[in-house]
């Protein structure tokens, strides 16, 4: 062959040129993919059951079954329980991202994402961001349930919003651990199983259901370092009054630590997974 110059590709239609790279690519791509995941959630609302009905059942169950015994009065117990169960529900909801990503990876659509000129982390960030809707739905569902049962916000709207933001922020950070599981494990069921094993000590090894000074010493030691326990105490402080600052520091430090550890590991695992 003597030709060294490739002839320009002939397009039959007068078409604009190929799209060119634009700045802030990762942000734009992640948001586009977050929107995808949001559409999927809206189209299959049954997958929101775990953040709508389930927490309501928990609240009703705990308040009326245990309230009398633990607090002597169901209303008193509702005040004590609701901020904590909000944290529990939202933290629990963070598992779903890992499970759904694990399912998604097996479908061809992720092959297409891999063949596109987007950051390798974009599909993961997109899923995690898109699932923020789950946390918002959980919060709304519990708020309504709490108000119906007679929960009284002692502090005010702004501190309560701060509690919600803190909780969602922490769940966002923690969800990267489950994204990593979703990348590493083979089956969605396995992701769910392993995630739930870690969820029980995280959410029940806390002062959620009873004041932590009623717990045995070893459990108290765990509660003192467990970020979810601190998030629950901070949420209580922000909603019904009480100490907040120390707990908040614990939550933020843990959250950033988890994010810094698991987000890069998850992206790396995604790159390697074929």
């Amino acid at each position: 062959m003597t030709t060294t110059v490739i002839p320009p590709v002939q397009k039959t239609k007068a078409t604009p040129t190929r799209p060119q790279p634009r700045p802030f690519a990762l942000v734009r791509h992640s948001l586009a993919l977050a929107r995808r995941s949001l559409i999927k959630t809206i189209r299959t609302p049954e997958q929101l059951l775990d953040v709508t009905l389930q927490p309501i059942i928990f609240v009703v169950l705990f308040v009326f079954l245990l309230g009398g015994a633990i607090a002597g009065d169901t209303h008193e117990y509702l005040q004590f329980l609701l901020p904590a169960i909000l944290v529990q529900t939202v933290v629990f909801a963070s598992v779903a991202t890992g499970v759904s990503l694990n399912t998604d990876l097996k479908k061809g659509v992720f092959d297409r994402f891999r063949s596109l000129p987007i950051g390798r982390s974009a599909p993961l960030i997109g899923s995690v961001l898109g699932d923020l809707i789950r946390y918002v739905v959980a919060t709304l569902s519990l708020t309504i349930c709490g108000l119906v049962l007679g929960f009284q916000l002692v502090t005010g709207i702004l501190p309560a919003l701060a509690a919600v933001v803190m909780t969602i922020g922490f769940a966002f950070c923690l969800s990267w651990a489950f994204v990593l599981l979703g990348m590493v494990l083979r089956e969605p069921g396995a992701v769910q199983g392993v995630a739930f094993l870690t969820m029980f000590p995280l959410t029940f090894g806390t002062g959620m259901m009873a004041p932590s000074d009623t717990l045995p010493g070893w459990l108290q030691a765990w509660v003192k370092v467990n970020p979810v326990a601190h998030a629950m105490e901070a949420a209580r402080g922000l909603m019904i009054g009480g100490p907040v600052a120390t707990h908040l520091v614990w939550v933020v430090a843990w959250g950033l630590g988890l994010l810094a550890l698991f987000a890069p590991l998850a992206v790396r695992a995604y790159r390697r997974r074929t």
Partner: protein
């Protein structure tokens, strides 16, 4: 740099399984390369490497002169991929699927919308555009999938078994789309298990087996290797089978066989011999219930090239 893409000595192992054992592939700009092979021959692995989804263990591959490992990001701007299983998002509508791809390719929202609308009407999906892809038929999904791989106006398109699982009329739709792409100057790599498909679409065919190229050439060259086509005749009166067999042998110059009861077949070299068979059968007054000219099957190609049957069971890994 006259090749649209090129692979040299690709090796890929999965544990003890060797998916590719030194595969070479290349195709000129604006032509169609058919990669033909049985299940487990390494077709999909080769496509995944060229489409930057997988890194080869050894060897190098280039698309538009760019290394698929080192310049992966740039390569991704030039390619479109349609996988073996329709890679569309079932919960999204047709238009949402295409707009998403457009946005990921850095089109502005309005441009992405326009491109999506354009592609949907080109692929006969304009009316279905607002419906979720899960309501689409298999053929519609495949068309949407093809449209999705074209959003970025790629120079090179990889089609991994694009017609597997489609019924013949839907398969023809896909074939026509591929022909349209080539007319637009796009280079296509098409993997298939069907010689017929490669023959219908490809300018050149690479036959691969056990992760290696075992033959390469134009469809005509390959057919010459495997002995062209076969004439099959089924006399209406089974008693006249021997006469029919004699006619077929006479025309072809090769002994006719009876592959199944009441049927005779013989390999022929050109289309003219088929006409001759028709004429002689008519002359002899032998009426037939079936008379056809068919390409050798993939199995026969393999048998000729390797001397062994392409047993899918043992090759599927």
């Amino acid at each position: 740099m006259e090749y649209a893409f090129e692979a040299r000595g690709l090796v890929k192992r999965y544990g003890k399984t060797t998916a590719l054992a030194g595969l070479d592939l290349s195709v000129r700009q604006g032509s169609v390369l058919g990669v033909l092979g049985p299940n487990g021959a390494g077709k999909t692995t080769a496509v995944r490497i060229l489409a930057t989804l997988l890194r080869p263990d050894e060897g190098r591959a280039f698309v538009g002169g760019l290394d698929v490992v080192k310049d992966a990001a740039k390569v991704r701007r030039q390619i479109g991929l349609t996988g073996q299983y329709a890679s569309v998002d079932e919960d999204l509508t047709g238009i949402q699927n295409l707009v998403l791809i457009g946005q990921l390719l850095d089109l502005r929202k309005s441009e992405a919308q326009a491109r999506a609308t354009e592609l949907l009407s080109e692929f006969g999906l304009a009316e279905a555009g607002a419906r979720q892809a899960k309501t689409y038929s298999g053929g519609m999904r495949r068309r949407l999938d093809l449209a999705a791989s074209l959003v970025g106006r790629p120079d090179v398109i990889f089609l991994d078994e694009p017609t597997t699982g489609l019924d013949p009329s839907k398969r023809d739709d896909v074939w026509n789309i591929v022909r349209g792409l080539v007319a637009d100057g796009v280079t296509v790599l098409l993997t298939t298990q069907y010689l017929e498909e490669a023959d219908a679409l490809a300018d050149e065919i690479t036959v691969i087996d056990h992760g290696r190229s075992i033959a390469h050439g134009t469809p005509a060259e390959l057919k010459r290797i495997v002995g062209g086509q076969t004439v099959i005749a089924r006399p209406a009166d089974p008693a006249r089978l021997a006469e029919a067999e004699a006619i077929l042998t006479g025309v072809s110059g090769r002994p006719a066989e009876s592959p199944s009861r009441g049927v005779v077949s013989v390999p022929v070299d050109g289309d003219t011999q088929f006409t001759e068979v028709v004429a002689r059968l008519a002359q002899a007054g032998i009426s037939v219930t079936e008379l056809s000219l068919r390409l050798p099957s993939l199995d026969e190609v393999f048998f000729t090239l390797t001397g062994e049957r392409s047993t899918d069971e043992s090759a599927a890994a």
